[in-house]
Amino acid sequence: MNFRSECRKIKRTGFLPAFIAGGFLAGAVPVLNMLFRSANYIKPDVNPVEVLFMANWQTMALLNILLVLEGACILYHTEYTDNAMQRMRTLPFNESGLFINKFLLVLMMCTILVAIEAAAIGFCCEHWFGGTVIHGAAGYMHICIEILESLGYSLLLVLPAALLSLFIASICKNMWVSLGIGVLCIFTATMLPADNFVLSLFPFAMPFQILAGTAPDTVYNFITACIAEIIIILLAEMLFLKARRSFE
């Protein structure tokens, strides 16, 4: 199964425009927030990236997760609605390849999403903190690196949620069921207390984490847990596909 044909399958599904529009919507959050309430945030001696993340990331992350969930549902919806899945399963390749390629596709879209958000945050830093809080080329360089690091971290932490969404979507033939389960999971994630480390490892809760202002130890723990979750969900999908094949 090649990646190119996966890309071809998403034509006219609204998958691509949804991610682009979602990216701009999420990017608009910090810009609008600064536009209306910049007085609350601009103070001397603050870390602009940390301030911007603290103020906006919860909303942006929620948009990201909803988008990832919907993307995952669309990807499997096209497989199941007109029975294309059956044709796919009569072709000589492993079904797990289909899953991996869909994951790569979501990963690619998430990267674009995060890039748009990075640009928005970068713009906010430059426009509202430039000259007052950030000084000189070195200061800008430092901010750029910080933004890239933060969003790289966010990109990594959104992956377990993306995989779990795809996993759910691949199990349920009816898109509405997978969407419903996903929405319930996201809701549960927003209700979990943020100070509990174990509970915040729930894949749908992880994307709400922020790099700026977090202790390096905690960051390290989250990264380890994130990679472990990625491996576990991938294994679970392989097992599930195997089991489904032997029960049908």
Partner: protein, 251 residues
Amino acid sequence: MNIIETSNLTKSYAGFFAVTELCLHIPKGKVYGFLGPNGAGKSTVMKMLLGLTRPTKGSFVIDGKRYPESRIEILKEIGSFIEAPSFYGNLTGKENLEIVQSILGLPASAVDEAMELTGITQYKDRPARKYSLGMKQRLGLASALLGRPPVLILDEPTNGLDPVGIHEIRTLVRSLPQKFDCTVLVSSHLLSEIELMADNIGILNHGHLLFEGTLNELRQMAALRGYPYDNLEDTFLAIINDDNMQRSGIK
């Protein structure tokens, strides 16, 4: 030489036997007509041959490869079309075929050839969900024919087509063994249709194989057992009726 052989193939769902101890012998380079009333288990057998359903018992060999060990190898040799046509509604007919083509690693010309054969070339740029039932059926057939597979499994390929379409598809199926040097397993619940396409036939009822052989052998068998044999439709009905009577007698 038989290209497909099944031995004691059985599929049961919670006490209900969809297919019982089926032993099929499908000779290479022929059109094999698979005949039976609705719900006889034709689709189940075809799904098992494609690995879509796991047999409860028994195994089969396709072109010397045994299931389940060489599932992927087997799939490489089969072009298939099962039940309702399966496709991506958001993609055009051509794009649907291109996806299958790239998975099978075929040259781009294979798509044009398949579209030409099934007569969908002029509709290739229309989204598949806007196709009429007949067009969807043709699209499914085109995707089965892609890359000239040595074995073709077609489940009621003429369903939903108009008389002209039925005739075209029949002629196409009939010509495939010579054209592509392939073997065709085609199912139908109409004997009149199978009669025009197939060299060999197998009759299935309630998951049991009632007859397997050439059309002439069917006539001989009918004459021997006292079934009507001048009209094959009547022969088929008599065989099925007789079997149903015996079955209800057992119960």
